[in-house]
């Protein structure tokens, strides 16, 4: 046996070395951060996940803290990084995730989540493809798949729309079903860089029974006549893309013509487009009347516009009803002091809750408010769980902090 | 074994079967008295080693000699030279006659008168003996 010592030692060394590392070392040896309840109902905090960095001198480690504990994405198994990591945007949408589970075969090869529409009876996927292959006259192909959830019947139509201005980009912003008509809200950009490129919004209406194009309405807004002014636009769609909604929101900035860089906004308009009537109304003035002077972070739920504004020292939330053209209830407005915060980092709303992330003496904290009445439902803070000797750690507040709310 | 030195420097020709050449060598040894009647002879393995021939050949040679009654082997005891004097004597005369025959055949071609021939033979033979003796003495002194 003694002749073989070298091999025996080597093997033993390997087993012991790797064994200990992967059985003990790797598993336990990491800083654990948690969101701990300070006041209120624990369940309100369960959806919150705070993202930040942990640093011990070497490069920062991205980490996500929740009520359960902390997760280090960079340390996830390579398999999950490669495979569940790809196309994760699909799974991030709760409605899409549901459809993926229920209708695996229908969802196959459908990856553009703004192209989905879903109600009790129908699931519709309407995509627009630009066919400008060489030698062919450029044309837009509207390809529509419908699934009748009760009968399980799947239909597929393709409708060709000729493309007068040779679009370089085409993007389906929203799909809605009104009666038996499929509305495709599409953003088309002609060739050329951002400024100087022509933008059009179209509402293509297609008959869901035979796929024929009923109407192609181009939305006209702002006026391009003013010289040294350029229009920049952004669109706001229903928070849950696949859900049915009567409106699409467009925000248009009149911006001073760029000489070499940004010259400042002259004016901004907020339009709402009603699918039923096809009418585009400028809400800017009425909203001003309603006391909304700044559209910061804006989201659309059905016919309710939620407008959230925050700075380091205050946060303000307004809810505006597009149909009644009035704010639904008193604004919720809080100062940092009221929150007991040194600095408000961010706020976000979800299902009638306002979530706020802030920190005080280097400890990240979170608060949850009811948007209907402004009541504080929950407050919590991110704490380090570990040996006291190393408790000097907090989540690195110099690095960017961010908050996500699970569905 | 005293006999070795006279054995190790045997050279064979490639044309006659090796085992016959071995037998012949034995006979020469006998005729010149290097081997005596009844003397124990090397085992075939030793022989093979001494003559650098493979054991099968040695075996064959011994078989031949046994058939010619030249050597005898009782049971497991090592082979020894036969004690049969007549046979031994006949070997000697056989060797001599063989040699003389060969000599006669070659000398016939130039027919020399027998007396002259005998003289020459006698003279040469003595000379060769003389030189041989000197060689041996030289060897002994060294």
């Amino acid at each position: 046996m003694r002749r073989y010592w070298i091999s025996i030692v080597l093997s033993a060394f390997i087993v012991v070395g790797l064994g200990t590392y992967y059985v003990y070392g790797a598993v336990v040896d990491f800083p654990e951060y948690k969101i701990l309840k300070v006041s209120g109902d624990v369940n309100e905090g369960s959806k919150i996940s705070v993202q930040g960095n942990f640093s011990d001198g070497g490069g920062n480690q991205f980490l996500i803290a929740t009520a359960e504990g902390s997760d280090y994405p960079s340390r996830r198994s390579i398999i999950s990084q490669i495979f569940s990591g790809s196309r994760s945007w699909m799974n991030d949408q709760v409605d899409i995730r549901q459809m993926l589970n229920d209708h695996r075969s229908f969802m196959r090869g459908k990856g553009n989540f703004t192209s989905f529409y879903k109600d009790e009876e129908w699931i519709i996927y309407a995509d627009a493809v630009l066919n400008n292959s060489f030698g062919v006259k450029p044309e837009i192909v509207l390809s529509i798949d419908t699934l009748n959830q009760t009968s399980g019947v799947v239909k597929h139509y393709e409708t060709i729309v000729e493309d007068p201005m040779d679009y370089s980009q085409i993007f389906v912003e929203d799909v809605q079903l009104i009666g038996e008509q499929i509305h495709m809200f599409i953003n088309q950009r002609s060739k050329g860089d951002l400024n100087g490129s022509a933008v059009e919004y179209h509402d293509y209406v297609v008959d869901m029974n035979n796929g024929t194009l009923i109407n192609n309405a181009r939305l006209t807004f702002g006026d391009n006549t003013k010289d040294n002014v350029e229009l920049f636009d952004r669109s706001i769609m229903n928070t849950i893309y696949s859900a049915s909604s009567d409106h699409a929101i467009l925000i248009v900035y009149d911006e001073q013509k760029r000489v070499n860089d940004y010259m400042g906004i002259i004016d901004e308009h907020l339009y709402s487009y009603a699918y039923k009537t096809g009418v585009l109304t400028d809400l800017s003035d009425t909203m001003l009347k309603a006391g909304i002077d700044d559209i910061g972070e804006i989201r659309l739920d059905g016919h309710i516009l939620t407008i959230l504004n925050y700075e380091e020292d205050f946060i303000k939330l307004s809810r505006y009803n597009i149909d009644t053209e009035k704010v639904t209830n008193e604004d919720i407005s809080l100062s940092a002091q009221q929150l007991g915060a040194e600095k408000i980092i961010m706020g976000t709303t979800k299902n009638n809750k306002l979530y706020i992330l802030f920190y005080k003496n280097d400890i990240p904290k979170v608060a949850v408010l009811d948007t209907t009445n402004g009541a504080i439902l929950y407050t919590g803070e991110v704490v380090y769980e570990g040996e006291a000797s190393e408790s000097k750690w907090t989540m690195n507040t110099e690095g960017r902090l961010y908050m996500q709310i699970a569905d | 074994m005293k006999m070795n030195e006279s054995w190790t420097d045997v050279t064979f020709n490639g044309r006659d079967p090796v085992y016959l050449q071995v037998v012949r060598h034995f006979k020469e040894q006998l005729a010149t008295g290097r081997l005596e009647a009844g003397q124990i002879i090397p085992s075939r393995r030793e022989l093979g080693a001494m003559l650098k021939i493979n054991p099968n050949t040695a075996q064959k040679a011994y078989k031949e000699m046994e058939e010619q009654k030249l050597i005898v082997t009782e049971g497991n005891s090592p082979s020894r030279i036969t004690l049969d004097d007549n046979l031994l004597r006949s070997i000697r005369s056989e060797l001599i006659s063989d040699a003389v025959d060969a000599f006669v055949v070659s000398v016939r071609k130039i027919d020399v008168p027998v007396e002259e021939l005998l003289d020459i033979v006698k003279q040469k033979y003595l000379e060769s003996n003389e030189t041989e003796r000197q060689v041996q003495e030289g060897g002994d002194q060294a």
Binding site: - | A49, K52, I53, P55
Partner: protein
């Protein structure tokens, strides 16, 4: 008995073996004679299963080559087959480890006979010494058969003597020996049987003593007939 039946082999487009057939009997020294590149070594390799054949069969005591037969047939190639890094002692150790047929005492005996130094590194051996150690490795196995490739090629004459002595010793006795050579010289009187190779086949196969007594020819004479014809 080793039976080689109608073996064919092609190498780099030319046919090296071309229907060679012969047998090797136990208790006999059989010599495979042929000019360089006649395919002598190839035959030995083929018997040892070191190179695949195009066609033909090789049987050892009636069965095809398989791992257990390596216990009963030893191969002594024309060069050492042990890593240069090893000491001679380690080399012997290695053989002992893997061959049940290994006979340690005989190995000792042979090492003494060739007066080889156990502590020497295999890489540092001179050609002659290497050849001797090679013989030790092959002959210290208690095998039925021994195959030797050119045991005398490039060996100084003193070593030749020693090696020749091995052939006429009990180490060879009762075994079936097949050796190859391109110069008959040293082995002329050692071998029982000669196989003359030509064009990848055996063109003459005779018992040496027989051809001497019956035709009064030496092996060299026969070779002349074959190779100068």
């Amino acid at each position: 008995m080793i039976e080689v039946v109608d073996i064919h082999k092609r190498y780099r487009g030319r046919s090296v073996l071309n229907g060679a057939s012969f047998t090797v009997e136990k208790g006999q020294i059989t010599c495979l004679i042929g000019i360089n590149g006649a395919g002598k070594s190839t035959i030995l390799k083929a018997i040892m299963g070191l190179t695949p054949l195009k066609s033909g069969t090789i049987r050892i005591d009636g069965q095809p080559m398989d791992k257990n037969l390596y216990e009963s047939i030893a191969f002594i190639p024309d060069h050492l087959t042990m890593p240069p890094g090893m000491k001679l002692s380690e080399g012997l150790r290695f053989m002992q480890d893997f061959y049940q047929s290994w006979n340690a005492n005989r190995a000792e005996e042979l090492m003494k006979f060739f007066s080889l130094d156990q502590t020497e590194r295999i890489g540092n051996l001179s050609r002659g010494t290497a050849a001797k150690f090679n013989l030790v490795l092959g002959l210290a196995q208690d095998t039925e058969y021994v195959l030797m490739d050119e045991p005398f090629s490039g060996i100084d004459m003193f070593s030749r003597g020693l090696i020749a002595e091995v052939f006429s010793s009990h180490l060879i006795e009762d075994r079936g020996v097949l050796l190859t050579t391109h110069e008959i010289g040293e082995v002329e009187h050692l071998i029982d049987r000669a196989l003359l190779m030509k064009d990848g086949a055996i063109c003459r196969d005779f018992q040496c003593e027989q051809i001497r007594s019956e035709e009064g020819k030496s092996i060299v004479d026969v070779m002349r007939e074959v190779y100068q014809a």
